[in-house]
């Protein structure tokens, strides 16, 4: 029996008068990988930020396991420890090397002893294939390597769920593969993931479900095959067609 890890119910977010998204409901079960797609400006990033409490939703509720994290008096910082987040532009701490980037949360938030934290951080770097780059500063790493360190940094906190916000869209094409490879591995290991991406190859292969978001609401969701081959809405078909044109050329040729 699948156990829901993240439950979103009737979530609405506005910036002033501007409604970003409206009445979004979504459940992510343990071990699932959910991919969110949709045109830019539809509120995908905002949705992830709401889930991570980096910004407040205006209406609706979110549960992490059985805890309602949108409830009043909920400890934001504690919640964020259990939700990993990976950003489009990596956002590594510029003044720290890869190892210290991963260690900082462990020592300052989890209050681990430095020795333990170091061992754990090295293990996480190993997991993303960067143990040999531990001493490198962000400026000395390629984009793909920086993003992998960012993933290790999030993983180190042992999150219940990982959120990815277009993790490869700031990368040069030849660097995308290494990041997707790490994410694929995570999915296989059973990590629960919510991923915003336009990498259709990844979505088709790894996602349990794809959610198509447009103009602030969910147009359609379902398993990849269903969305790709039997979409219920024309808009889904059009968007997927456009996106495969743009990003998926290589896939088509295979």
């Amino acid at each position: 029996m699948a156990k829901p890890i993240l439950t979103i119910k009737n979530l609405t977010k506005k910036y002033g008068e501007n409604v970003i998204f409206h009445d979004i409901s979504l459940t992510v079960n343990e071990g699932d990988t959910i991919v969110i797609i949709g045109p830019s400006g539809t509120g995908k990033s905002t949705l992830l930020r709401c889930i991570n409490l980096l910004t407040c939703a205006d209406d609706g509720q979110i549960w992490l396991d059985d805890l309602e994290i949108t409830a009043k008096g909920c400890d934001d910082d504690r919640v964020r420890q259990h939700i990993g987040m990976v950003f489009q532009n990596f956002l590594l701490f510029n003044h720290l090397n890869a190892l210290d980037n991963v260690m900082l949360g462990l020592t300052k938030v989890k209050h681990m002893k430095p020795d333990e934290a170091r061992v754990k951080a090295l293990r996480e770097l190993e997991r993303v294939g960067l143990a040999d780059r531990a001493e490198h500063y962000p400026g000395q790493l390629s984009g793909g390597q920086q993003q992998r360190v960012a993933i290790a940094r999030a993983l180190a906190m042992d999150p219940r769920i990982m959120l990815f916000d277009e993790p490869t869209s700031a990368l040069d094409p030849e660097l995308i593969g290494e990041v997707l490879e790490v994410m694929r591995k995570l999915a296989l290991e059973g990590m629960t993931m919510l991923v915003v991406t336009h990498e259709m190859g990844f979505a088709r292969e790894v996602a349990d479900r794809i959610v198509f978001l447009e103009k602030g609401s969910i147009v359609e969701e379902g398993p990849p095959d269903e969305l790709f081959y039997r979409p219920k809405h024309d808009r889904t078909r059009e968007f997927l067609w456009k996106i495969t044109e743009l990003y998926g050329k290589k896939d088509e040729n295979k």
């Binding site: 980096l54 701490f93 900082l104 400026g139």
Partner: protein, 214 residues
Amino acid sequence: MDVAKFLQYIASGTAYTVGVTLIALPSGLILGTLLALLNVYSGKTSKALTNLYSTVMRGIPPIVLLFILYFIVSGSINLSPFLAGSISLGIVSSAYQMEIVRGAILSVSGGQMMAARAVGMSKRQAIRNVILPQTLRLAIPPWSNEAAIVIKDSSLVYALGVPEILRRAQLISASTQQPFLAYAAAAVIYFILVFITSRLLDGLEKQLRIPANP
């Protein structure tokens, strides 16, 4: 006046000048950093108040402020002119240092705060562990400039009767009847102090520089 006495005068005057600077500069840095943090990370009221502080303090000549603060400080606690003057000079400098630190905070991208919060750090932890370490590095070059200004402004406590270099030069000039040489010697000492300080801070900046920072 013999040479030994002359040198001893100069040395003790230099010690006072260095002392004033070593009190004023760090106290201005601490106060300025607190003000900058209030300005950037607190509510609208703190922003407005700290902006007002900055505009007013930077709109008044340092020597006028120094006199006002000196009379307030020495009127409320019993301090020597040296201490009262140094603290007052620190307060004068705080408004300028606030602007330096604020500029540096704003040039650390907002994403750094978001990333720190996403790992589960509180705002306070994020400021301490992520924002300030980057900010203070960025602030070193403009801060080096401010350090030179504070060394030079330390000459203002001359007017409060603190026996720093300029006051010593005045005494020497009176007793030797060589005013040009006396003040030229004072100028040389200030110049050396400013020069050494800026070299030291240059070195510090190089040492702390983040490798290959984009």
